[in-house]
C-alpha cells in the first residue's frame, strides 16, 4: 500500500543535489548584482486578502505568509535598495501535479525598474541557472488570447467568453464575472499553449486583474512567465499609491465577505509604509519547485521536494 514507503523523500537524492545547485546559482546571480538577500517573518498578524488565495491561520494565532511581498515592500520603503529572498510560502487548498500547499518562492525587487526591464532580468536569471533559449518571446495578454482562444479579452462579450470557456458545470454560471471566464480560458486554452519550447512572457493583463500592480488605462502592468504551459513567475510594476492600495484591499475584503470566504485583516503596516514612500520599482515571484521540475523533466512538483505535502 501507499503508506509503506511514506517515510522516504519524495525527491531522489540526485534531484535534491540539483535543487541545492539551483539555489546556489540563484544566490550567486544576485550576489554578483549586489542584490541583498533578506529574511522576513513567515508568521504575520496580517494576511493577503487576494480573492483567490487562501491563507493558513486565524486572527488570534496569526497567518502564514502566502508570499513575502508585504514585508519586502516595507523593507523597500525603509530604503533597503534591491532585495531578494528564497522562502517557503503556504497556500491552503492548493494541491495537484503543479501545486503543493507549502512551496518555495524566489522573490525579488528592483528599484528603478518597470515590468519590462524586470522581464529582461528574469530571462538573465534563467540563463544563469541553465535554461537555454535566447530572447524569450514577449506576448501581450491580448495577443495570447487572440492567438490561442480566437478572441480579444478586452473586447469580447460575456457571452463570447462563456462560449469559449466551455465550462459545463452550470451551477450559478450565469452570475459569474468576466474575470472568471478569462481565468478559465487562461487555464484551459491559452496557458497550456505558452512556452512550448523556450519560456514566454505574458504581459499587460486586464486592469481588473491588477492585484498589486500599477494600472495604466485598461492595462495592469504585470507579467507572468510560462514554460511548457506552466506558469513559473508573476511580476508587477509595483503599485506605490497608498490610498489606491487601501481601496483595493478593502474591495477584495468586501468581495470575500460577499462570497462568505474568510476575510483576514490586510496589512496596515504596508499601507503606512507606502504612505512613507515606495520607490518606483518592479518585483517578481518565481516558483523554484516548478522551475526545477521543468529543468529536470520531472512529472510533478512533489518529485522536486524533500517531502511533499502527502508525506510532510
Amino acid at each position: 500500500m501507499k503508506g509503506e514507503q511514506h517515510w522516504r523523500p519524495s525527491a531522489t537524492l540526485e534531484t535534491l543535489k540539483a535543487r541545492a545547485e539551483l539555489f546556489s546559482s540563484v544566490r550567486a546571480f544576485f550576489v554578483a548584482r549586489k542584490v541583498l538577500e533578506v529574511d522576513t517573518p513567515i508568521l504575520s498578524a496580517h494576511a493577503t486578502v487576494d480573492r483567490h488565495i487562501e491563507s493558513y491561520g486565524n486572527a488570534s494565532d496569526g497567518w502564514l505568509q502566502t508570499s513575502p511581498e508585504f514585508a519586502m515592500k516595507r523593507l523597500l520603503c525603509a530604503g533597503s535598495g534591491p532585495i531578494y529572498q528564497i522562502c517557503h510560502v503556504f497556500r491552503r487548498e492548493e494541491s495537484g501535479r503543479h501545486h503543493n500547499a507549502e512551496f518555495t518562492m524566489l522573490e525579488w525587487y528592483q528599484p528603478g525598474y518597470d515590468h519590462h526591464r524586470l522581464m529582461s532580468e528574469v530571462e538573465e536569471l534563467l540563463h544563469a541557472v541553465g535554461v537555454s533559449g535566447a530572447g524569450f518571446e514577449r506576448l501581450s495578454y491580448r495577443d495570447a488570447f487572440l492567438r490561442y482562444a480566437g478572441l480579444d479579452p478586452f473586447a469580447a462579450s460575456l457571452e463570447q467568453l462563456r462560449n469559449a470557456a466551455s465550462f459545463d458545470s452550470d451551477a450559478g454560471a450565469q452570475a459569474l464575472e468576466r474575470d472568471f471566464w478569462l481565468d478559465l480560458i487562461m487555464s484551459y486554452k491559452v496557458g497550456p499553449q505558452l512556452g512550448r519550447d523556450s519560456p514566454v512572457f505574458l504581459y499587460d493583463f486586464p486592469a481588473s486583474q491588477a492585484a498589486l500592480s500599477r494600472i495604466n488605462g485598461n492595462i495592469a502592468e504585470r507579467f507572468e512567465l510560462f514554460w511548457q504551459g506552466i506558469e513559473l513567475a508573476n511580476g508587477f510594476h509595483e503599485l506605490a499609491d497608498a490610498a489606491e492600495q487601501r481601496r483595493r484591499f478593502e474591495s477584495d475584503q468586501s468581495w470575500r465577505k460577499a462570497q462568505s470566504h474568510i476575510v483576514p485583516p490586510y496589512d496596515q503596516n504596508l499601507i503606512a509604509a507606502l504612505e512613507n514612500g515606495l520607490p518606483n520599482c518592479a518585483g517578481v515571484a518565481l516558483g523554484l519547485d516548478r522551475l526545477l521540475m521543468l529543468m529536470q523533466g520531472l512529472p510533478n512538483v512533489a518529485a522536486t521536494m524533500s517531502f511533499s505535502g502527502d508525506r510532510a
Partner: protein, 189 residues
C-alpha cells in the same frame, strides 16, 4: 446528504450528477497565477460506461453517490430479470436486462459475479475474469492446424461468440477472458 468537495475527489470516488452515478477517474487542479482555481474531473457514467469531463470551481461539492459493489452468485434469469444471491446472507436481488446484458453472455449459473448497486438497485454486473464454457456451434476446422492463426468463430453455450483456433471443435470446453472477450485455451471435456 453526504457531499464531497473537489479537493477530496480521488480516483474511485462515486459522485452523483443530475441523479446519475459517476465514478471519478481523474481529478486535476488548475489555477492561473492570480485567479480562479478550477478542477477538471474525468468521470465514468456507471450506468452507460461513457467517460466525460466536467470542470468545477475548486471547493465546489458534489453529492456522494450511494454505490456499493458486492460479490454475488448468479442464479438464473427469467428473460426479464437476472437473479443473484448474496452467498453470506442468502439475500437475493434481481438485475434488469440493461444492467446484466453485458455479463449475461458469459454466465450460465453459479458463477460469482460483482454486482454494482446504486441506492440498493443493481445497475451493473461484472462476470468472473475468466469462464470455462461449452462450444455449442462452430465449423469443423482443418486437420493439422495447431497454431490458431486466423481462427474461426465459435458460439458458446451462453450465447457469446469468440474466435477460436481451427483445431478447437464443437462440444469442447474452452476457457475465455471476459474482459477482452478472447479465447485463452482448451479446458478439456
Amino acid at each position: 446528504m453526504a457531499t464531497v468537495s473537489t479537493n477530496e475527489m480521488k480516483s474511485g470516488t462515486k459522485v452523483l450528477i443530475d441523479g446519475i452515478p459517476f465514478s471519478v477517474i481523474d481529478n486535476e487542479y488548475h489555477k492561473p497565477g492570480k485567479g480562479q482555481a478550477t478542477n477538471s474531473i474525468k468521470i465514468r457514467n456507471l450506468k452507460t460506461g461513457r467517460v466525460l469531463e466536467r470542470t468545477l470551481k475548486s471547493g465546489d461539492t458534489l453529492e456522494v453517490a450511494d454505490i456499493e459493489e458486492i460479490e454475488m452468485q448468479y442464479l438464473y434469469n427469467d428473460g426479464e430479470f437476472w437473479h443473484f444471491m448474496n452467498p453470506a446472507s442468502f439475500e437475493q436481488i434481481q438485475a434488469v436486462k440493461a444492467a446484466a446484458e453485458e455479463a449475461s453472455k458469459w454466465i450460465k449459473g453459479e458463477e460469482t459475479c460483482r454486482v454494482l448497486l446504486f441506492n440498493g438497485v443493481a445497475i451493473g454486473v461484472t462476470p468472473p475474469n475468466t469462464v470455462t464454457l461449452l462450444i455449442t456451434e462452430t465449423d469443423p476446422g482443418l486437420r493439422g492446424d495447431t497454431s490458431g492463426g486466423g481462427g474461426k468463430p465459435a458460439t458458446l453455450e451462453t450465447g457469446a461468440i469468440v474466435r477460436v483456433p481451427l483445431f478447437v471443435q464443437q462440444g469442447e470446453m474452452v476457457k475465455c477472458d471476459t474482459r477482452t472477450g478472447e479465447y485463452m485455451s482448451r479446458a478439456g471435456k
